[in-house]
Symmetry: C3
Subunit: 366 residues, 3 copies
């Protein structure tokens, strides 16, 4: 659902990452980490274009569903691979990071850079409203396992991790169902709430045949998966070399890489005074992460035989809640200016500082 600036020259990092990975004896894991991270960005862009092209061919309803599902494919693949290796801390951190990254970093940069060119920029607040409320609902849902844990762990009548998993599964199901209601609302019953963004996007897609789109989709997805494999595989040694925590890597680094394509598009749209698109991309992407990617990862974790709960650490819960709250305040009037960008970025920096200083905690509140 997005058109993007060309980041294709970054594709050069894909073969470099391959060489680094398969060089006999292995070279620097840090170099591999960096090259894989950068390589994912343009390939994720190709997934996006192929999805849009395919969506344009299959008709509106199914197309919207496709866009909604593959919109965060890169994010989902990286997290899925981390999940398969049992790195649930990284998975949860990347969910947190994707939400706050979209809401604070992407939207903040868009409003700041757009605001330096235009005194005031407008966007359709009706659509933003509905999406923001869905995000608040997601924030409430993601706080609940933490509230449960804090309360249950002091209960005299005992408590088991199994109950926590069941609770998380139930929450994942509710979020997943809500997501499809939200899609139905935005693609069918109340399309006009989201119209101005829709209109501008329609023109932008590639005109590929269905077969070509599917082929590109498969190839690009394969590459993202391979690069994600390298990325996730080197997190541990990068973490150790730089003395940063797993959570910091997940919240800041992985999240930025997984969402880089959306990031650049949103910012460029803001600078073209299409704030509607910027806001739509940033909020829409957060929404997908919270209501679609997070539940799917929970379901996947059962397929991998290592059930993941949705209990986030206190700083993660706080970061998500604070971001969504400030988004609600800023998006309320349908207007943006540069100081709102500064306000969002300030919150991002402060949260980044928090995660930077936070000592390693292997399981959130255990």
């Amino acid at each position: 659902m997005k058109f993007r600036p060309s980041l294709d020259w970054l594709l050069i990092f894909v073969p470099i990452a391959m060489v680094l990975r398969f060089w006999p004896g292995g070279i620097s894991p840090t170099a591999l980490f960096v090259c894989s991270a950068i390589g994912i960005i343009p390939v994720a862009g190709w997934i996006g274009r192929a999805t849009e092209a395919l969506a344009a061919r299959v008709g509106e309803g199914l197309g919207g569903l496709l866009n909604a599902t593959f919109g965060n494919a890169a994010e989902l693949i990286i997290a899925g691979i981390a999940l398969s290796k049992g790195l649930t801390g990284v998975v949860k951190a990347s969910i947190t990071g994707s939400i706050i990254g979209n809401v604070l970093l992407v939207l903040g940069l868009s409003m700041l850079l757009g605001g330096t060119k235009y005194k005031e920029q407008k966007f359709n607040r009706t659509g933003a409203r509905t999406s923001t409320i869905s995000l608040s609902l997601a924030a409430i849902a993601l706080i609940i396992p933490t509230v449960f844990h804090l309360t249950a762990s002091t209960s005299p009548s005992g408590w088991t991790p199994l109950m926590e998993q069941k609770l998380s599964l139930a929450i994942a199901v509710v979020l997943f169902l809500t997501y499809f209601c939200v899609l139905w609302f935005s693609l069918r019953t109340h399309k006009h709430y989201f119209q101005s963004a829709e209109g501008a996007l329609e023109e932008a897609g590639e005109h590929w045949s269905r077969a070509k789109a599917i082929a590109i989709l498969i190839i690009a997805t394969t590459f993202v998966a391979a690069l994600s494999e390298f990325l996730v595989g080197t997190i541990e040694s990068v973490r150790a070399s730089f003395g940063i925590t797993e959570v910091f890597v997940g919240v800041i680094v992985v999240a930025i890489v997984g969402n880089a394509a959306e990031h650049s598009t949103a910012i460029i749209m803001a600078m073209k005074n299409k704030m509607d698109l910027s806001v739509g991309i940033a909020i829409g992407s957060s929404l997908q992460i919270a209501l679609f990617v997070a539940p799917v990862l929970v379901f996947l974790s059962y397929a991998f035989g290592r059930p993941m709960d949705l209990e986030f650490s206190l700083p993660e819960v706080f970061a998500v809640t604070a971001s969504i709250y400030i988004l609600f305040q800023i998006s309320g009037d349908g207007e943006t200016n540069w100081i709102e960008g500064i306000q969002l970025l300030s919150v991002y920096v402060i949260l980044g500082v928090l995660f930077f200083f936070l000592p390693e905690t292997h399981s959130p509140a255990h």
Copy 2:
């Protein structure tokens, strides 16, 4: 202040409950619990009609006060009886449940069902605003004893339950006084903020004589009290048979029963496109619980010689805060649609799941 659909056929459960209760040897406590619960619903409806009829006879000011005071009579009676038996956990849970039930379940169903018939429904947001702010104030007040407890319990200089009771009493007094200010505001100085709802309701009341209204009020209240006695008396064995917790019974079951009359009215009004009334009933009822019923129960607890504090458990505090927050977001624009109903109901389901899985904790944070 409400007109209601006929639930009178449910009155059949009143004699059934009587028989079950006084049958020699006693029968199933679960059957008694269910029949009492269902029986309360239509009788509570009669209290409502008698109150309105009486209010119409005594003039506007006193009438408004009467409506405001007896509007949650069923809720107050059930909680009062639980209080007299020392079941403070159930009392607090039913306060929590009434607030979230009105805000999430009633309003959610109204918006969803109304929204399936009408694309967009409007309500007077000025009145809703003031009431929502009062609810936020109540949420802040109800968090404070928990904050106090968490902080005081780690204090080196000691802390006594007596201080907690005094704190709760002071808060109850402030809420109680604020309630009368809010009434004065809505019935006297700023009536026009709430007008459209008022107008539509005026026509609806029964035309009973003052004596008839008082007689019906007394009889209905007596029956609600008796049925509440049965209901509360069987909570313990129902709890044990079904393996659910006291808090779950209080938050979900008791709260739905105590507010069923308002529930059905609000939903029917929404389906008649009188969203103003639906919103007024749901928010107004929560407000009465938070600013009037909760303080009165604290005062009553002193009369019973077993002082109750207002310290709620963390999940209860969270549930109330989250509900009121999402209500604030949804009521901000004076318009509703079906997805807003889904959003409120999703939060209700998620909170219900939380309370379902939560192990028994006899005193919240002790």
Copy 3:
């Protein structure tokens, strides 16, 4: 940036405080505390007038900066002296108290007293919006050290107070930089958002020469410093005599004294139906405390060689968050009435009760 009613007759307390302080043998510390507190109020008024007069002479940009910097001079001096004596608990409590005092007490009294004369009062909500968002950002920033502490203290890999100080320092820097962005926004790029308040204030300043203004500024500042010294020096014995806690003294007493001049101006403006000014003063003053005074106090603490972190106690964090949240709700529609005043004051009273009952805790969560 404010014009004030005459509180000059209170100047009589300045010599009385001097006499009490230097009387051989010393008299009652309580009397000295009270007289110093009252004496600060009119002298702080003179700092304000001198600042405005000076600001009028040095041109708009620098003048705005001057007003912004000296607007909370009394507050800063009192806290600075408490800091130099190592009373970080009092310093933090007075930051908390100044924020909630401005938002709840000042604005609450303004809306209530203004609302008894005028049914509805209007203010420019665009400016209030931006400022409220900045306050939310500050609230998020001030919660972070507490979140860090709660999480880090359970970390297996250890945690040091030094990390907490670094975190607080980083947050202070971000807030400080944000403050200058906010000033640039309100004084330069988006002046018109704040215009109506600006206009009305322009006429009000004194017409003093630059030299006279500077002289008065220096003299008044010296007196405030001396009186603050007395005030802070007697806190301990007042605390002991009355059995109240350090935190209560800081949050309620010191905060009211430090902000009394703004308080009276804001209320008088409200009663003259200049609600724009009232809101501007109350929100602006909170903003200065949160984004300017708090960071400066952190920087000062390093100069004094006793680094202060920004970790507030749970009740303080809660009080600030709740106040800013309710402010956001109330200021959203650009209109005020008396019930909104009652709502703000109710929250203030409830928080006051909380701080009154709270037992002494020397370090917040240690």
